[in-house]
């Protein structure tokens, strides 16, 4: 008898315990809610901050009135939704795919977002977009470049950034151009890459084009992100005798690599990086002069403002508010939010099907964005933006200078990279 009563107490206690925790989250009322999942902590935290700042700025421009040739800038809020404002809800995925997925689920089910965007890390974008696809919520990916993301046949996933496959080809086109125009001797490359989907994808693409363009891959070095010592890896690079080293690394590793290069006095003819860590603000801040002369594929550079003044205008606003210049990462996040909000506006509703259709039909001219692209238009099958374009920049005197294609270049390449004792 006594035991049954105890059971009752316990059961009631458990129920009370549960109801003490209110179901978190609110309802989507007037503002249009968009979830943005980025690495706010972990080895790429500083990059995550750059991107979320850019998104915040984009939301401000959309919600406010600015005299810029950007969609929704000159109006307040979304005109087709009776001036509804955009409210962005940020979440931190810490660089972990399972947390990214959990956060996506939470955004959708509890925060009731109309759409999701993110996540920078290709590995996290993969899982977060799975959650979105299952719940039939549109997901816009502005920065992740793993080719596999648009090969999954997802209906709700859209990507604005060009991705690693054409970028890899750009690298070898650049090397060919260098050989022709500058008469440098480049035969071999070494690929050093981190081991999640970003790095693995880069390896596959770069190998493919190396073969196509006739370059020898003399070393393929895979390493784990967040390594504590890269001495062995750098030694292997040196031993390979590669003319050009092509890394694919996130921020913390990019910094450690350059430090180790310096410690071991190693420098190949050039470093041709696949973006990511090498264009991050923290990289420049931490390494200063030691990080210079690196070449990276990029999607954006400040000196493009010469051809498109709006770039400088937006950058000024960003710089004044957040204390640093924009870069390819933040510019893409900014543009991603613009595109998403614009699509929602064109859909005239927060219904996910309507938003999805609007995105499928979406086009934007290159004149209405701060990216040096021809514009935005999503491929009918893969939902990949087909009008993107890559460039190659070099970090000189603390600034990124466009050096390729030569028609867009603002200055000449410095090749080879000066050795450590000659700086």
């Amino acid at each position: 008898m006594k035991k049954t009563w105890r059971m009752v107490y316990v059961t009631v206690g458990v129920f009370l315990w549960f109801s003490a925790f209110p179901a978190a989250g609110a309802w989507a009322a007037d503002p249009v809610r968009i979830g943005a999942i980025y690495p706010l902590t972990g080895p790429a935290a500083s990059t995550g901050a750059e991107m979320t700042d850019a998104i915040t700025l984009a939301v401000d421009i959309i919600n406010g009135k600015y005299d810029l040739d950007l969609p929704l800038a000159r109006t307040e809020g979304l005109p087709n939704l009776k001036g509804a404002t955009i409210k962005v809800i940020f979440a931190d995925h810490q660089g972990k795919p399972d947390i990214g997925q959990a956060e996506a689920e939470r955004m959708i089910t509890t925060e009731k977002v109309a759409a999701l965007m993110g996540c920078y890390y290709s590995s996290v974008t993969t899982t977060a977009s799975i959650a979105a696809e299952r719940h039939k919520i549109p997901f816009l990916n502005p920065e992740s470049t793993d080719p596999k993301l648009t090969e999954r046949g997802f209906r709700y996933f859209f990507r604005t950034t060009p991705f690693d496959d054409p970028f890899a080809e750009n690298f070898f086109q650049f090397l060919d151009d260098m050989k022709k125009k500058k008469k440098v001797k480049i035969d071999s490359v070494a690929i050093v890459h981190e081991n999640t989907s970003f790095g693995m994808g880069v390896l596959v693409s770069e190998k493919k084009y190396a073969e196509k363009y006739g370059y020898k891959v003399v070393a393929e070095i895979m390493y784990a992100e967040k390594a504590t010592s890269l001495v062995s890896e750098v030694q292997k690079l040196r031993a390979s005798g590669a003319d050009v080293v092509m890394p694919a690394s996130y921020t913390a590793d990019a910094i450690l690599y350059m430090k180790t290069f310096k410690d071991l006095r190693y420098m190949p003819q050039a470093i041709l990086a696949m973006d990511a860590g090498y264009i991050a603000e923290d990289y420049r801040k931490t390494l200063g002069k030691d990080g210079e002369y690196v070449l990276s594929r990029e999607v954006w550079a400040l000196d493009l403002a010469k051809k498109k003044p709006m770039i400088a205008t937006v950058n000024e606003i960003y710089k004044k508010r957040f204390g640093r210049d924009m870069n390819g990462n933040s510019a893409r996040s900014f543009t991603g939010m613009m595109v998403l909000a614009d699509a929602i506006n064109r859909a005239g509703s927060t219904d996910s099907e309507k938003i999805r259709e609007a995105l499928e039909k979406y086009t934007l001219s290159g004149d209405n964005m701060i990216m040096p692209w021809e514009g935005v238009a999503f491929d009918a099958k893969t939902h990949q933006n087909t009008k993107g374009r890559g460039i190659i920049v070099q970090l000189i005197d603390g600034q990124f200078h466009t050096v390729w294609p030569f028609e867009l270049a603002s200055r000449d390449v410095i090749w080879p990279i000066p050795a450590w004792d000659k700086r």
Partner: protein, 305 residues
């Protein structure tokens, strides 16, 4: 109480409370599984994530590599986990106390690193289980959490039944003898090695089943999500807080700590689970210093678990 648990999802229809319950059931089962080895038999394993990961990977890999159903994977996983448990247990059980604990910690890290570099199972990229429409055959449901709820509930009930069965049986008696005084038990003819292996085998199999269920719920696994030291630690914590060595201790610990962990993650916002782990750490120290028998210790006057 079982009736209440069954009715629960109809009262709380939103996905969030259901998700919470699923996590509680899953962790409760894992904590109970650990309890068999650590609580009943006194062998403190700090590497139970090994079995969880093995189960998760087995379940995932049979689908991606051979197109089998995950149920087969789970059974396979249990077998593999048991095998791994024996391989680990056989040499490690020679070690006493602290050394056993450290060895399990080291082995856990070895597994994590190995899987990070084993390309056949995806290395650091992990394994993505192919998405399908709702199906029992492949145990995947996108539109509702109910099946997951009931299956994990069944899992917890299974773990508890096994624990209770052991407690009442002669094997359980021998387990406890080994825990209290291994040499004395030996001198009375109890094969310490044999029983310890049974304990780790049982613990491993239940834990790996949990891993398989997790894989099907999340549909994506990679070494940091299924092999982390933190998971091994968490499982231990849950059992110790509630009352190590008792039947309901692990469940109690889970019911208290998991909601705490989830809510701090949500309310304290994007910086993740720092706060709940602070609570974990603090509670364990408190428990070990003040009331080593865990919360249940407050309700039981003397007597043995």
């Amino acid at each position: 109480m079982l009736a209440a648990a069954v009715a629960y999802p109809f009262v709380f229809r939103k996905p969030f409370p259901q998700d919470l319950a699923i996590k509680i059931f899953l962790f409760g089962g894992l904590a109970s599984a650990w309890n068999v080895l650590g609580g009943f038999t006194g062998q403190v394993s700090l590497g139970n994530a090994i079995f969880f990961g093995v189960g998760a990977y087995a379940t995932a890999v049979v689908q991606t590599h051979w197109g089998w159903t995950p149920w087969v994977g789970m059974v396979l996983g249990m077998g593999v986990a048991c095998g791994v448990a024996f391989v680990i247990g056989y040499p490690c059980f020679r070690l006493k106390g602290h050394y056993f604990a450290m060895a399990t910690l080291a082995i856990g890290e070895v597994f994590s690193t190995l899987f990070m570099n084993w390309q056949w199972v995806g290395g650091a990229v992990g394994v993505y289980i192919p998405l399908r429409d709702d199906t029992w055959k492949y145990f995947q449901f996108g539109t509702t959490k109910l099946p997951y709820y009931y299956v994990t509930l069944a899992f917890l009930v299974l773990a508890l039944l096994i624990s209770e069965g052991i407690l009442r049986s002669r094997m359980g008696y021998y387990f406890r003898a080994i825990r209290e005084d291994q040499d004395a038990a030996r001198s009375l003819g109890v094969s310490a090695r044999g029983y310890k292996l049974s304990a780790i085998g049982i613990s491993a199999m239940i834990t790996s089943l949990g891993g398989g269920l997790y894989a099907q719920y999340v549909l994506f696994i990679d070494p940091p999500s299924v092999f982390p030291m933190m998971l091994s630690i968490q499982v231990v914590l849950l059992a110790v807080l509630g009352g190590v060595g008792t039947l309901w201790g692990p469940v109690l610990g889970t019911v208290i700590l998991i909601p705490l962990s989830e809510f701090t993650r949500i309310y304290i916002g994007g910086t993740g689970s720092g706060l709940d782990l602070i609570a974990y750490g603090f509670l364990i120290v408190l428990v070990s210093v003040v009331q080593p028998r865990g919360i249940l210790g407050f309700f039981r006057k003397g007597g043995n678990a």
